[in-house]
C-alpha cells in the first residue's frame, strides 16, 4: 500500500476540453467544456448530471482511454497519456470476458498485466480467491458471466477491478442496470470494499459516475454536478455525512437537503431533455 508522497491532488483536470467530430457530417460536438477539477487521494468523488453531459467522457479521459482536445489531465502531477493499470475501471454493462470464468475474469489483470509481474501462480490465485470472497462470489468461481445475474456480474466486475490493485478506481454508472434492491446492497458493499470503516490512508481514490442523485449523496465525499450542452461542471458540493453510511443515512435531513439542492441544479435541464426527446443525440453511452 505505498502511496506516492505527493502534496498535490491525486487527479487533476486543468481547463480540460473535449470535442468529437461526428463522422459523416463532420460537425463538432463539444462533450466537455473547460473543466477544472482536483481530486484528492483517498477521496470518493461522484459525478452526477443528465444523460449526455459528458460524465463518461471525463471518466474516459481520466482512464486514458480518450485524450483531451485541450487542457491537461494528470495523475500525481504527471500527464495522463494512455490507459494504465494504476487506473482501473468498472463499466455499466460489466464488460466481463464472456469466454472466461468468474475466476479467470478476476485474474485477468494480474495474469497478463504489469501488476501481477512479481507474483507466483499460487500468490496470484490466492489474491484472486480473496477478491472472490470480498465481493461474495464464493462458489461461483467456475461459472461463466452469462450464468450470473446482473448483480453478480457487477460483483465480478468490482472484484476484477480490486484484484488488479489500481490506485484509482473509475466507475461508470456501475449500478445503473441493476434493480433498486440490488443497487442499495451493492452501494453499501462498495463502501465496505473501499475501506469506509478502516483507516483513511488505506482508501483508494474513487471517481464514480451516476445519474441517480441519492446514490451520489450516499456514496461520496464530494459530488460534482454537471450540465449538458455543452457539458460542464456547474457545482461541486461537499457531503458532510458521517461514515460508515447506513440505511439511517438516507433518512437524515442533511441527506434530503443535499439531494434536493442537486435536484434543483439539474431539474430544468432534465425536464427540457425529457420534453424535447429526440432533439439531442445524447442517448448513447
Amino acid at each position: 500500500m505505498s502511496h506516492p508522497a505527493t502534496t498535490g491532488p491525486k487527479l487533476r483536470l486543468d481547463a480540460v476540453r473535449k470535442t468529437f467530430t461526428v463522422p459523416r457530417s463532420g460537425a463538432e460536438v463539444v462533450a466537455v467544456e473547460t473543466a477544472d477539477l482536483a481530486i484528492e487521494a483517498g477521496e470518493f468523488l461522484t459525478i452526477v448530471g443528465p444523460s449526455g453531459c459528458g460524465k463518461s467522457t471525463i471518466l474516459n479521459m481520466l482512464a486514458g482511454l480518450e485524450l483531451p482536445t485541450g487542457g491537461t489531465v494528470a495523475m500525481d502531477g504527471r500527464k495522463i497519456t494512455g490507459p494504465a493499470a494504476e487506473r482501473g475501471m468498472v463499466f455499466q454493462d460489466y464488460a466481463l470476458f464472456p469466454w472466461k470464468t468468474v475466476f479467470e475474469n478476476i485474474e485477468f489483470g494480474l495474469r497478463y498485466g504489469p501488476h501481477g509481474k512479481g507474483l507466483s501462480t499460487a500468490e496470484r490465485r490466492s489474491r484472486v480467491a480473496r477478491c472472490v470472497e470480498l465481493v461474495g462470489l464464493g462458489g461461483s468461481e467456475q461459472k461463466y458471466p452469462h450464468e450470473l445475474s446482473g448483480g453478480m456480474r457487477q460483483r465480478c466486475g468490482i472484484a476484477r477491478l480490486v484484484a488488479n490493485e489500481p490506485d484509482v478506481l473509475l466507475m461508470d454508472e456501475p449500478f445503473a442496470a441493476l434493480d433498486a434492491q440490488t443497487r442499495i446492497i451493492l452501494q453499501e458493499e462498495l463502501l465496505r470494499i473501499w475501506g469506509e470503516t478502516g483507516d483513511r490512508a488505506e482508501r483508494r481514490t474513487v471517481v464514480f459516475i451516476t445519474h441517480a442523485i441519492d446514490e451520489a449523496v450516499f456514496l461520496s465525499d464530494r459530488v460534482v454536478v454537471m450540465s449538458a450542452h455543452p457539458g460542464r461542471i456547474i457545482e461541486i458540493l461537499d457531503v458532510d455525512l458521517p461514515r460508515p453510511r447506513t440505511d439511517a443515512t438516507r433518512t437524515r435531513p442533511e441527506f434530503q437537503a443535499l439531494s434536493q439542492t442537486i435536484w434543483n441544479l439539474i431539474r430544468d435541464e432534465v425536464y427540457r431533455a425529457a420534453t424535447a426527446a429526440g432533439s439531442a443525440g445524447g442517448a448513447g453511452d
Partner: protein, 268 residues
C-alpha cells in the same frame, strides 16, 4: 432447437430421442413418396425403387468398394479443408486486425469471392489434369472464403468495451489480440468452419465428377455411364450422410470450444 437444448440438462436424452424419431419419420415419409413416384415413372434407370437403392448400397458397402471411394474423398476433403483453414484464418485475422492488410487484400477477395469454385474446374483441368490436385485445389478455394470472411468479421466486431476493459488493466496489444479479440471472434470463426464444411462437400462432388479418377463423385459419374442408377443414388445417399456427419462433428466442436457461448455466436 437451441432453446430446447437450453431448457434443461436432464431431459437431454429425451430430446435426442425425439430428434432421431423426427428424422426417421420424415425419411420414412420421403421413401414412401419416392416409391410412389418410382411406380408412376415405371423406369428403373430414371428412378429406381428405394428398396433397390438400399440393396445396392448394402452390396457396395459389403464389397468394400464404397469404403474405398469414401476414404479417398474424405482424405481429399480433410486435406483441403485443413489447407483452407490454415490460409483463411490467419489471413482473416490479419485483415480484421490491421486496416492496411484489408486495404491491400480486400479488393482481391471481393473479386474472387463471387466466382463459383465450379467455374475454375475447366481451367484446373488444363493446369492439373485429372488427379488429386484438381479436387484439392477446388475444395480449398471454396472453403477458404467462409474461413477468411468470418474470421475477419469476428475480429472486427469485437466489443469495444471489452478492449477498453483490458486496456484499463494495463495489458499490452499482443495480450488484447490473443486473449480478447481472438476468443471474441471464435464463435464466428466456427460458424465459418461449418459453412466451409458444407461448401467443401458440395465442391468435392463437383470436382470429382469431372476431374478425378477415384472418389465418391467419380463413382457417381462411373455408374451413370453404366446406367446403374440404383448405385448412383446409393453413392448420393452416402455423400449426404457423410456431409451431415461432418456438420454434426463441427457442431460438437463448436460446443466444446465455446462452452460460454449460449445461443449461436452471442456471448453475453
Amino acid at each position: 432447437m437451441a432453446q430446447a437444448a437450453e431448457i434443461g440438462a436432464p431431459p437431454a436424452r429425451q430430446w435426442r430421442q425425439s430428434t432421431v424419431f423426427l428424422y426417421l419419420r420424415s425419411l420414412f415419409a420421403l421413401a414412401i413418396i419416392w416409391s410412389l413416384i418410382a411406380l408412376w415413372v415405371g423406369n428403373h434407370v430414371i428412378l429406381p425403387q428405394p428398396t433397390s437403392v438400399a440393396y445396392e448400397l448394402f452390396r457396395l458397402v459389403i464389397s468394400g468398394e464404397m469404403l474405398v471411394h469414401a476414404a479417398v474423398s474424405l482424405w481429399r476433403l480433410v486435406l483441403s479443408y485443413a489447407l483452407a483453414a490454415l490460409i483463411g484464418i490467419p489471413l482473416g485475422l490479419l485483415m480484421g486486425l490491421w486496416p492496411w492488410a484489408s486495404d491491400l487484400l480486400d479488393p482481391v477477395v471481393e473479386i474472387l469471392r463471387p466466382i463459383s469454385g465450379i467455374a475454375w474446374i475447366p481451367l484446373a483441368l488444363f493446369i492439373f489434369g485429372v488427379g488429386n490436385e484438381l479436387p484439392i485445389f477446388i475444395i480449398t478455394y471454396v472453403a477458404l472464403f467462409p474461413f477468411l470472411l468470418n474470421t475477419m468479421a469476428g475480429v472486427r466486431t469485437t466489443d469495444r468495451t471489452l478492449i477498453r476493459a483490458a486496456r484499463t488493466m494495463g495489458v499490452d496489444q499482443r495480450t488484447i489480440i490473443r486473449h480478447v479479440m481472438i476468443p471474441s471472434a471464435l464463435p464466428q470463426i466456427l460458424t465459418g468452419a461449418r459453412i466451409a464444411g458444407g461448401a467443401a462437400w458440395m465442391s468435392l462432388v463437383a470436382a470429382e465428377l469431372i476431374g478425378a479418377p477415384s472418389g465418391l463423385g467419380f463413382a457417381i459419374e462411373w455408374y451413370r455411364q453404366l446406367l446403374m442408377t440404383p448405385k448412383v443414388i446409393a453413392v448420393i445417399v452416402v455423400i449426404s450422410l457423410l456431409g451431415y456427419l461432418t456438420d454434426r462433428l463441427l457442431r460438437w466442436l463448436q460446443r466444446r470450444l465455446t462452452p460460454w457461448s449460449t445461443g449461436i455466436g452471442a456471448g453475453r
